[in-house]
Symmetry: C2
């Protein structure tokens, strides 16, 4: 099935306790589309870049089967730039630079052939832009997923809640789930958030795994402990890509299949962090992905 | 098989964002012994309390099958008192008071009938005291487990490493594993720590679960998301109790059985946090424990 991916395509500057990169390719929609491309070949990108964005990156996406007709290129503008620094535990980071550049004027217009897509991934952007995308859809999709962050809860909570009311699946981290719901317990937070609209809630906990809440059911996907973590940037977006790519491929929203989608999302996130940008993801075979998913299975396997 | 539990028996003062208790019963050996008592009835306590410690608590332990002949009662002293405050996320805490009291003179002497015990749990204490217990054992136990913390790494690392060299299983949290090994990756940290002595490493991550490392194998036990967390105090010690109690009961150190031990440890920890002190643990039936373990199984169950 068709998957629309809306979000940033960017340059990133990344500093970890072990290494530093001044300018590498990144952005939520970039990571998500690449991760999803291991599962489905009908990926429709919606984003914006400046004239400084390398044509070969766009060509590589096209070759990978990613439809870039929804990628606006603003020739006289500069691509969105974000820079951040990871603290000692690599699970926390501080933002050093946020140059919105062309993102400041982002006014996404869906190409006509995107408008009846069945799976929609709305990456972390202003709630207004996310709503604008939803409003352009001409048919009711099978699943709209939305990623957001505490920043929008701080400055645009009401508008964010309007968007959340229209989506089926929400991905946020544990602290954001607490902020959005006003509940400390994630079980209670999930109950409150389900009432806001989303039938599915995915709580991302970085190196501590991810939780899926649906009706009264809970599934926990671990994170695989890795010998080498190069850069956590894009892990959440790669997770979204693996998850949504798998759902678009299988077109099955049963809880059992959602679990598998979460595992494939976690697998893509685990590859993502093993190199900067999509360095590792680019080199994967389909078999690598299958083998990694099996490692998740073994990691939590026990008999009582 | 026989299980020796060495550690504190204490009074605690606990403050969470939601409630406060000025003086409740606690201590590592207290939580560990109670949790272990659901699995085995040959539990041998080694600890010290003051004349202010309630006789009915000691009687309740005896009734539960806990041998208290190794519990020294220093009539003219006061019981160890700890007070702490949990921060908003309940996964971090600050210590407000540490009154060692009788613990300052703790010089554990094992009763003769303890000395050939097969399973030994050394709770978090000075490395000197932990070593003193090991030195009194007359036979080589099946398993010595040791719990410690960053405080001893900061002030007595060399001595701590001497003790660690003598134990089979080490339980610490993720930051402590990083401090002890000098490695960021927990996979690499485990390799370093295995070389220090312990064949088994358990990394406790509180509300994020626990990891078991053995040879080249890894097992992850999730934490069950709970609707109500009253007080995280004693969770790690209840975990140790469930784990060691299960091992003493089954007397099987295969990796498959160690996994089950970790799950039963996690189950006891999950009960522990649902009330202050051992309020919830005291009321459990064996069936409650079995049912909770099944919830862990369901939580991570998926098929590729």
């Amino acid at each position: 099935m068709s998957l629309v991916v809306v979000g940033t395509v960017a340059f990133d500057g990344v500093e970890t306790p072990f290494a530093k990169r001044d300018k590498i390719t990144g952005g939520a929609a970039y990571y998500t589309s690449w991760a999803a491309s291991f599962f489905t070949d009908t990926i429709r990108l919606v984003s914006i870049v400046g004239g400084d964005y390398p044509q070969e990156e766009i060509d590589a996406m096209k070759e990978r089967g990613i439809d870039t007709s929804g990628l606006e290129i603003k020739e006289d503008g500069l691509t969105f730039f974000w820079a951040g620094k990871y603290l000692d535990n690599m699970n926390e980071r501080e933002t050093l630079v946020t140059d919105l550049n062309v993102l400041d004027d982002f006014n996404p217009v869906l190409p006509d052939h995107y408008k009846d897509s069945q799976y929609i991934m709305l990456g972390n952007l202003t709630p207004d832009i996310q709503m604008q995308v939803i409003d352009q859809l001409t048919t009711d999709p099978k699943l709209i997923a939305l990623d957001t962050m505490n920043f929008w809860m701080d400055i645009a909570m009401d508008r964010l809640k309007e968007v959340i009311a229209k989506v089926d699946l929400l991905t946020i981290n544990d602290e954001e789930a607490r902020q959005l719901s006003g509940e400390y317990s994630l079980v209670k937070a999930a109950e409150v958030i389900h009432k806001m609209g989303p039938k599915y809630l995915v709580i991302k906990k970085g190196e501590h795994g991810a939780l899926l809440f649906h009706e009264n059911k809970i599934f926990f996907a671990p994170a695989v402990p890795l010998a080498n973590v190069a850069d956590p940037t894009g892990a959440g977006d790669s997770f979204a890509g693996g998850m949504m790519g798998y759902l678009a491929k299988t077109d099955d929203l049963s809880f059992e299949n959602m679990k598998r989608a979460i595992i494939f999302g976690s697998a893509m996130a685990s590859f993502c962090v093993e190199d900067f940008s999509i360095g590792k993801i680019k080199q994967l075979s389909d078999e690598d992905v299958t083998v990694r998913a099996t490692i998740f299975k073994d990691l939590v396997d026990f008999n009582l």
